[in-house]
Symmetry: D2
Subunit: 135 residues, 4 copies
């Protein structure tokens, strides 16, 4: 069971009305659930500013597997960072292109540095990093 604590919060009525509509449209079961998500999102954004914070991240990259031995290079990089890289998912988008999602865990600064290196690898066309945290 999820422990919850109930608190009285003062809202301005107009924003609350709009927020309730927006939350309902997205499919939230209730207002508390939507507000809890906002709070966790905010805490994650805060954490990301701290280079020493421990986080979990997913790095999404797109590459052409025919080019530049990119898969060998990616495998090489990943095997040299067993402390940070947890696993990866590989999707064949079309005949040439792959999408790979790499799961990383560690300090913000280490995740960022390794993500930079992977995105910079010859043959990787695009990469985007998402950090999150268990809250």
């Amino acid at each position: 069971m999820e422990r919850v604590t109930r608190k009285g919060i003062a809202f301005d009525p107009e924003s609350l009305k709009k927020f309730d509509e927006s939350a309902k449209k997205k499919g939230y079961a209730n207002r508390s659930e939507a507000i809890r998500d906002l709070i966790r999102k905010d805490l994650v954004e805060e954490e990301k500013r701290n280079p020493e914070a421990e986080m979990v991240a997913t790095l999404t990259i797109v590459y052409d597997h025919h080019k530049h031995h990119v898969q060998d290079e990616l495998t090489h990089i990943q095997h040299h960072h067993p402390d940070i890289i947890r696993s990866s998912l590989h999707i064949h988008i079309d005949q040439d292109n792959c999408l790979e999602v790499i799961i990383l865990e560690g300090k913000v600064k280490s995740i960022q540095k390794l993500a930079d290196e992977i995105i910079a690898a010859k043959g990787v066309k695009h990469g985007k990093l998402v950090m999150t945290k268990i809250l």
Copy 2:
């Protein structure tokens, strides 16, 4: 007086504790104030997705006033959009460089299009658009 409506919200205790600490560190007077800000931030993000929404925006640009008659060009663009551009602030950063903040008001798509045009003007080195809304 600000009208407020008080509602009971269910929080998970750990996130709430962290959020309270973060809000206090930033200087929020109380938890309700911090949550109201999160809600308004979320509503602004939602609005930005809608090209037809009416918003207020600030465009921050940096340019070298010696180059390419950039000021003439910026004045020219701004005077051709009196319906969107409200005013602007000009700061002399150093001997060569100016920072200008342009206030825009209108539909998201019109603001975005005009901002693209200004940032693309020859001599403008960097530009960044912020949208907001009166909530």
Copy 3:
């Protein structure tokens, strides 16, 4: 073999120097590679603005698998959108928490709507969407 076309580009020397240093630090093999990545990143950002554009996306979510039958709910949502959802990766972060990466493909507006719904599902603590494109 990757087809390339070589073009002369005018740079300002100071920015180029800084960019070369930054690219080298990240591990880029050469300047052209780093610039090609910037261009693709820019094109992806452009595409995201168009609700009708076809894109590939990864949605990273974190949830506590003990709560609210969240896995049943997520499975239910995913099976109702076989046209958009391609596959997913599930990681056990700790005893309670899972990280799941869902791969989506479709129009920007459909991806966004489904991501909103998944993030809003009871029990999902945090979610973040990354869009990309095969370029």
Copy 4:
């Protein structure tokens, strides 16, 4: 006169075609200009990661001037940071609401901290920070 240095860059033809179209649509005079802007944007994003970097920033805030003596509070905060705050622009949006743009200069960490404090001030409804740099 702007000093420029001309370099040969290898592009992939399809991305280049799309980029040229996008740059033309935005109003760029030529491809070099559009690429120089991308490079400067990238360098600014890099700098923002470094808490010790010296940057210029604009903070856009919206507030209701009737409430909580917010203007007194904002004036008070601004006068206590003459080393960081350069100037500000005030716009009357409607009968109740003001938009204020505050120009800040200093280390990333100091700018961020002061922006947090201003956004957290009672009565400030929304705030957004943009950092830039003279390049």
